[in-house]
Structure formats: C-alpha cells, structure tokens
C-alpha cells in the first residue's frame, strides 16, 4: 500500500507537469494548426534559462518567471519567422512537421552546444515534506501541483468566459470562417503562441525541478508523454489534454512502481499508438 501511495504521489506530480505541457501543446496545435515537435526543445531551453539565472545566485522561482517570458517571446518569434512564412506559402502539414523537426534539432542541440552535454540541477530547497497517510510530497511538489491546477482553471476560464478564448476556439474550428466573421485571426494566433509558449516555459522549469537533474536532451522522452496525453484526449482539445495528462501521468508512475522504471514509457507509447490507430480524434474528440 505504501508503495502504491508513494508512486501515486509521484504520479500526481508527473501528471501536473504533463498537464501544463499538454495544455500548451494541444492549444498550440488546435489554434495554429502546427504540430510543433520543437515544443520539447523549447521546454528544455526554458529550463536552461532558469538554470543560468539560478547559477547567478538568484532564486529559481525568479528564473522560472524569466523562462516563462523568454519562451513566450521565443515561441512568438519561432512562429513569426519560421512557421507562418511556411504556412503562407501553402506548405503541407507534412512539410510543417519536417520543419518543426529541423527546428527541434536546431534548438535542442543549440542548447547542448552552449550548455555542454552534462546534466545539471537547480540550487533550491525542496521545503518541508508534507505527509498524509504514506503519501509524502515536498513543498516544491505541492507548489508544482498547485501551479498545474491554476493553469487548468485559467485555461477553463479563458476558453469559456473570455472573448479571447472564444476567438481562439473559433479560429481553431475554422480559421477562414472566423476571419470572415471579423475575428483578427492572425492576432489570435500570435497571442496563442505567446500563451502556449509561456506554458511551455513553465512546463520546462517545473519538469526540470521534478526531474532533479537534466540535460539538453531530457525532454526527448517527455515529448512522448506529451504526445500520448494530447492524442489520448484528442489533438486540439484542452480538456482532453487535462484528462490525458492525469491518466498518462498516473499510469506511468504507478506502473513504474510495479514493473521496472525503464519501461514506464511503454504504457504511454501503447496508449498513443492505440489512439492513433483506432481513434485519432481522441477520447473527447468527435468521431471521424
């Protein structure tokens, strides 16, 4: 029972990190129609930005704020300088994915070239442990879970109750129609890149906190989890991504406690392939 509770705790934290990342990824794809495989690379770039600031003796939480801003700006630039020009030219979805894969190499190994190939970790206190009947979580882990809940509530409020959220949903559903209805879609798309970029930076730093130590290629496998969560819920579906993140996060960590930790990604992988093969629109998506 203790092993279950302990792994459940890990699962909650992983699910929280995953939820932040997946919501960003799925909104990015849904609204902008770019399946941005460089998302994981931007995450790790954010994690390293926070690390550099942390190295100057500044609190990692300040670093987190800077990383969020930097990734937001970086994502807007990535879209404005690379993806939008390709899309304007009528590049096919496949070409866009290849471009994003090229950007993955540029960003990820650009980070590695600067940071070196060794693993690093933040200088930070984990805070006092909080325990409840075998479930032990550090203060930092609680903060991560709290941040994730805030992001989910914020996403809900944004999409349901704000004009911007409605414009984003309209753009996601049909960009041409939305534009003809007077929605400034290019601005909506830029704002979406800024918002999802910020989520990406946040996810990168909390991922690095959760992982303890990380290097430039650390998000390669985490991207598999993000994709699994996103496709489980249905690509483009924010609520689907939340559901997917909780399911995948808990499933990987709990399974890791009972089988070898090396294989914990297998569940996510199988979930992803089954969804792709059987129901590519996801659990919460419309039937094809």
């Amino acid at each position: 029972m203790t092993i279950f509770l302990a792994s459940f705790g890990f699962g909650l934290v992983t699910a929280s990190v995953l939820a932040i990342a997946s919501i960003g990824f799925t909104l990015q794809f849904g609204v902008t129609d770019v399946l941005n495989l460089a998302y994981g690379a931007v995450m790790i770039a954010g994690a390293f930005i926070a690390y550099v600031i942390n190295q100057q003796g500044v609190s990692v939480w300040i670093g987190l704020a800077v990383a969020v801003v930097a990734c937001s700006v970086g994502s807007v630039l990535l879209n404005a300088c690379i993806y939008t020009p390709f899309q304007r030219r009528g590049a096919s979805p496949i070409t866009m994915v290849i471009v994003s894969l090229g950007m993955t190499l540029i960003i990820e190994f650009g980070v590695q070239a600067i940071a070196g190939g060794t693993a690093v970790s933040y200088t930070m206190s984990q805070g006092p442990n909080v325990r409840a009947d075998g479930l032990i979580l550090s203060a930092v882990q609680l903060v991560v879970i709290g941040l994730s809940v805030l992001v989910m509530i914020g996403t809900h409020v944004l999409l349901r109750y704000t004009k911007l959220g409605k414009a984003m949903r309209a753009t996601a559903a049909n960009r041409t129609l939305a534009r003809n209805c007077g929605i400034r879609t290019s601005r909506v798309i830029t704002i979406t890149w800024a918002l999802t970029g910020a989520l990406c930076g946040l996810a990168g730093v909390v991922f690095a906190m959760d992982a303890g130590s990380f290097d430039a290629t650390a998000t390669d496998l985490f991207l598999v989890l993000i994709l699994a969560a996103v496709f489980l819920g249905g690509p483009g579906q924010a609520y689907g991504a939340m559901l997917g993140a909780v399911v995948i996060g808990l499933a990987t960590e709990i399974s890791a406690a009972y089988i070898t930790a090396d294989y914990k990604y297998v569940i996510a992988f199988v979930a992803l392939l089954v969804m792709l093969g059987v129901r590519p629109t996801g659990l919460l998506g419309k039937a094809g």
Partner: protein, 638 residues
C-alpha cells in the same frame, strides 16, 4: 590519406546511399513520411548480426543475445533485407486512409524513440546498451578482413548492392505503378477515388523501403562488426531525411547525391576537426546536429525541390506505334481542335480504353453546335422510360458531429441519363456525392450500384467497378503532367501493380501505348493536346477542371459523379463538355452532376433532383421543377 580511409568512405557512401534510396522511394515517390525509418536499418543490422554470430556461449559469453546461428554469407545479408521488410508490416495500420499523414509520421517517430529505449534497457534480447560486437565479416574464416584486398572486394560488393537497389527503385518509379505512387503522394483522396488502394500502395512502400533499409544495415554491421542502440537514435532518421530533401525528393540520383553530401560529408568533416582541450565537450557533435536542422529548414524554404529536382516525364505525341496510326500531323492549337476535324475521322477504339470506345459517336454528336439541342433532349424523348436503375440511394444520411448534412435521402439514377443535382449551398449535395462514391462513409442508409449493395465498399473498390467521381475543389495531381494525370486513371494497365512494375517495361509497354493513344485522343477532343506535357499544377482553373473530367473518363466509368464540373469553365467550353457527356451517355455512360448553373441543367440534364437542407425536395425536368413552389422558394429565388 590512406586507402583504408578511402575504402571506409566508399563503404559508408554505399550504405548511406542505399538507405537514402529506400527513403526516396518511400517519401519522395510514395509520399509516405516514415519518421521511424532508422528502425528498419537497425532491424536489418541486428538480424545480420545474430544470423552470422555463433551462439552467445560460444562467443566468449560476454554478451547476451537471442539467436546466434553462425550462418555463412550471404544468408545474413538476405536475412537483413527480409527482416527489414517483414517488420514493416505491423506499421501498415498507421498509414492506411484513416490517419492524417503528419499524425502517422508522429506515430512512427515515437515508435523509433521507444524501440530504441526498449532495446537499450532489455539486455537479454540484443545485449542492451552495450550492443553486439565481434560480428563476423563475410568469409572471415577464409580471408583476412583487415587486408587491403578484402576491403576492396567488400567495397566493390557494397557498391554493386547499391547499384542493384538503384535499378530496383528506378524500375518501380518509372513504371505505371510508380505513377500511381506519385499520384497518391500528390493527392491521396483523389487517387483513392480513382481506384488506387492506398493501403496496398503504402504497405508496398513500407515493405520495400524497410527491406532496402534492412539490407543497408546488414551490410553496415558486417563491415563495422558492432551494432548498438547509440547507432540508431531517432535523430539518425532526420539525417537521412535531410539527405533526401537536399539531394531532391523524388529523384533517386538526388538521393544518392544527398547521401554523399550529408551523412558521408559530415563523417568526413568531423574527422579533420582537431580535438582541442579548449573546446567544451560535445560542442562539435552538437553543432553538427544544429547544422543538419538548419540545412533542412533552409532547403525547404529556398529550394524545396532539392539540388536535383524530380525529372519531368515528357511523353511525346505520336511516339507510340498506336498513335502513329492516327493523325500526328494535326495542328496543336487548343482553340481549333475537337470540332469538325475529329468527327470526320473516327478513331480506332483500343481494347484497353473501353471508356473512350464511344469516341467516334462522341465526335459525331459534338460535330455541330446545332446538334447539341437535339442531343440534349434526345434521351428524354426517345428513350422514355429511361434504362434500368444503375445507382440507388436508400434513406442515406450523414451526420457531422450534431449537424445532419444529409437527412434520409432516397433516389435512383437510370442508365444513360445525365441526372442533375441542384440545391442551395449547404443542401448536402457534395456530401451526398462523396457518400455515393465512398469517399465519406454513410451514417445510415444503403447505396446500391448495378444491383449490388456497395454501402460498405471502399472508394477505390467502387471506382474499379466503374463508379467514379470528381471533386468540387481542384484535385489534379500537381507534380504529374496533364498526360500523366490522364494515364494515372487507366485501370487494368499491366504495369500498374508491384509485380508488373518489377517485370519491367517490356511487360507493360503495349498497355501503356494503348493508354497513351486513348489519352491523346481525349486531349485532342477537349483541346488540351498542346498542354499534354505541362505540369497539371501550372494550369489555369478552367483547364484543371477539364483535366479532372478527362481523367475521370480515362478511368472507364459506367457512372460518373461530377461535382460542379463547369465551375470556372468558359461557357462555350462548358457546353462542349455537356455535349460530350450527352454523347457518351448515348453510348451507355450514366452521369450524376452537381451544378449551380441552371442554364446547364436546362440544356443537358434530365431528370433533375432538387435538394435543400439535406433532403430531396423534388425530382423532374427543369421545367417541372420551376413550376414547383417549394423548389422555387428553396432555391430558384434564393
């Protein structure tokens, strides 16, 4: 620079070129974006290794692996190719029609990442992270693998294998089957609607590419004698993609060039960079990856066709023996063609072109504009009642997530008629057409064609039975010429199968010649002969509509479903198309046509079905429909 270094480069070049040829066939020709390509090379490498290695206990017992059969050359290489091809089969479920190409690519990428992780962590299978070593080289018992002579022979052998692979992929690509692959690459839904089985084409591409990748892996391991997960990270696939994109996707020589420039070039470059203690660790390898990424993005932006673009396949008129029997001296000017000249001289129908066998009658009826009016009313007056029912919808419905686009529609189409389908935008006409053709599945209801229930038959099977559709939006195969667009639709070409393609040109030459003759004739009739060797993507909107109609006719249809065939076409040309269709219908064709231009309906269509809000309002002649108030309210007034 010693000879070992040159040999090393040669062998690497042969192996990489082989892999790039496999990828070029899959991605450049077939349009299958396999981000997991490296899996197949890895599988070939492991297969060759465990086939050639002795049992693990007999091999020093310091590594653990399955198999170890100690088999002699060339079994390991053959095994590598076989395993590479066979393990492609489970992936076919990702590349069928259901899944978007980019999603399938992501699925394959993730598979590559995960398989690498599994092999790394599960030691008993293939010695995990450490990988296999002491893999026997071919004939290493008889000869010394380190001798210069041996290495020269090995290099020559791998170059020969590379040449064989090149000849193989060229044979496939230059056949009618290769044309079908390129058609699928340009527009898979349209290829499906013309009778191409996407699943079988893509499976063939995955297996062919997999076998080639497997062979390259097998050759590589028997040269380097080690194989471990570090050699086949997912990013290695990206290197191969970079090579194919830079060299020129769809051009096999470009693939070889790309292989020499990217993987081999990088290998060579790194060798000359002096190692310095001042440089941070990993800097050079990291920058190499950055450079690969930059090359991909820069090439896709500035030169997406690559250094050596795909070659244009020009088919000269009068080239084929059958065409020479015709009239090659005809002036090739679009405006003048297809009128009196054609009708005076009925062409000889060719057995391979049953659909256009009515050509003489078409020419005769279309001879003078005066005849058109009588031809239009001809079937209605002369053949009343119409022929038997060929196509029937029974209570057909379609939902799009809560929206009922088509709501329980029933009607019949009789043989030999040009049936019109009108209705305001959003009436469900195109959806209905898509369901009849099988492009969209029905939500409920049944579709009968020639007395048989085809409700659950996929689109390509219906097309093969003669139920052929065109599309509302431009749907030409952009990177095929007009002539190739037409040829791609011809059914029953002996070269339009994997085996036929392998059998070589001699096997399918006659079928091809007959198809070219039929296509030339059609091009003349529609006045596009002068544009036969232009890329379809470069034509004007109206010309592309014509190409699409001609292509559908080449598919030997019995029932032709046309979605706004006259949209964007000059009125005179529209009438000529109408007359051609009427003439073909007199010869047994049946047409169901969605059209907004009521003058066209008046002139050519009888009966006409009026739809609104997903249901059939009325059916009758245009003049009857005009007298029905509900039709007038729903559509004619607006």
């Amino acid at each position: 620079m010693n000879s070992y270094y040159v040999l090393n480069l040669l062998i690497y070049a042969a192996v990489d070129a082989m892999a790039c040829l496999g990828l070029s066939q899959q991605f450049g020709v077939g349009g299958v974006t396999n981000f997991g390509f490296i899996i197949f090379q890895a599988a070939g490498g492991y297969a060759a290794a465990i086939l050639a290695m002795p049992n693990q206990s007999a091999n020093g017992a310091f590594q653990s692996y399955i198999g170890g059969w100690n088999l002699p050359f060339p079994i390991p290489w053959i095994g590598a190719a076989v395993v590479g091809g066979v393990i492609a089969l489970p992936f076919t479920f990702l590349v069928g029609r259901r899944l978007r190409g980019d999603f399938a690519a992501v699925g394959l990428l993730v598979t590559a990442v995960l398989l690498n992780l599994l092999v790394t962590n599960y030691k008993p299978l293939l010695d995990g992270d450490a990988g296999l070593s002491l893999i026997p080289a071919p004939f290493q018992g008889e000869y010394n693998p380190l001798s210069s002579n041996y290495q020269w022979v090995f290099a020559a052998g791998s170059l020969v294998m590379c040449a064989v692979v090149y000849l193989l992929v060229r044979r496939i690509t230059e056949s009618p089957y290769g044309r079908s692959l390129r058609a699928m690459r340009d527009n898979d839904l349209v290829a499906d609607s013309l009778g191409k089985s996407l699943l079988s084409l893509r499976t063939a591409m995955l297996v062919t590419g997999g076998a080639i990748a497997g062979l390259s892996g097998g050759i590589l391991v028997s040269y380097i004698t080690t194989w471990s997960p570090a050699a086949w990270g997912y990013a290695e696939t990206v290197v191969l993609f970079a090579a194919v994109i830079i060299g020129g996707a769809g051009n096999h020589l470009g693939a070889i060039l790309g292989a020499v420039l990217v993987p081999v070039g990088f290998e060579e470059v790194t060798r000359y960079i002096p190692t310095s203690n001042n440089l941070p660790p990993n800097l050079i390898p990291s920058l190499e990856w950055v450079a690969i990424g930059l090359l991909i993005v820069i090439f896709l932006w500035f030169r997406p066709q690559g250094i050596l673009p795909e070659r244009k396949r020009v088919i000269k008129a009068g080239q084929t023996p059958a065409a020479k029997a015709g009239d090659p001296a005809k002036p090739r000017e679009p405006a003048k063609l297809g009128e009196q000249a054609r009708s005076a001289e009925p062409a000889e129908p060719t057995p391979a072109a049953m659909g256009t066998a009515q050509a003489p009658s078409a020419g005769a009826v279309a001879a003078g504009p005066l005849l058109a009016g009588t031809a239009a009313s001809g079937p209605a007056d002369g053949l009343e009642p119409h022929g038997e029912i060929v196509l029937q919808a029974v209570d057909v419905a379609r939902d799009f997530g809560g929206v009922r686009a088509v709501d329980g529609v029933s009607f019949s189409v009789r043989r030999g008629t040009v049936t019109g389908l009108i209705g305001p935008n959003g009436a469900g006409k195109s959806t209905l057409l898509a369901m009849l053709a099988g492009t969209l599945p029905v939500s409920s209801g049944r579709i009968r064609y020639q007395g048989e229930d085809v409700t659950h038959l996929p689109a390509y099977r219906r097309a093969r039975l003669g139920l052929v559709r065109t599309f509302q939006l431009a749907s030409e195969f952009k990177r095929l010429t007009v002539m190739e667009n037409l040829l791609s639709a011809v059914p029953g070409n002996r070269g339009d199968s994997f085996r036929g393609a392998l059998a070589g040109r001699r096997y399918w030459r006659d079928d091809e010649a007959a198809a070219i003759t039929a296509a030339e004739e059609l091009l003349e009739r529609f006045g596009l002969a002068a544009l036969a060797n232009n890329y379809a993507g470069d034509l004007s909107g109206g010309q592309r509509r014509l190409v699409e109609i001609m292509r559908a006719l080449m598919a030997e249809p019995r029932v032709l479903l046309l979605d706004e065939p006259m949209a964007g076409v000059h009125p005179n040309l529209a009438r000529r198309i109408g007359n051609e269709l009427i003439a073909l219908c007199a010869g047994g064709l049946t047409v169901l046509m969605v059209e907004h231009e009521l003058a066209i309906m008046d002139e050519f269509c009888d009966p006409v079905i009026a739809m609104a809000e997903g249901a059939v309002l009325a059916q009758g002649t245009m003049s009857e429909l005009r007298s029905r108030t509900e039709v007038v309210e729903a559509y004619l007034v607006g």
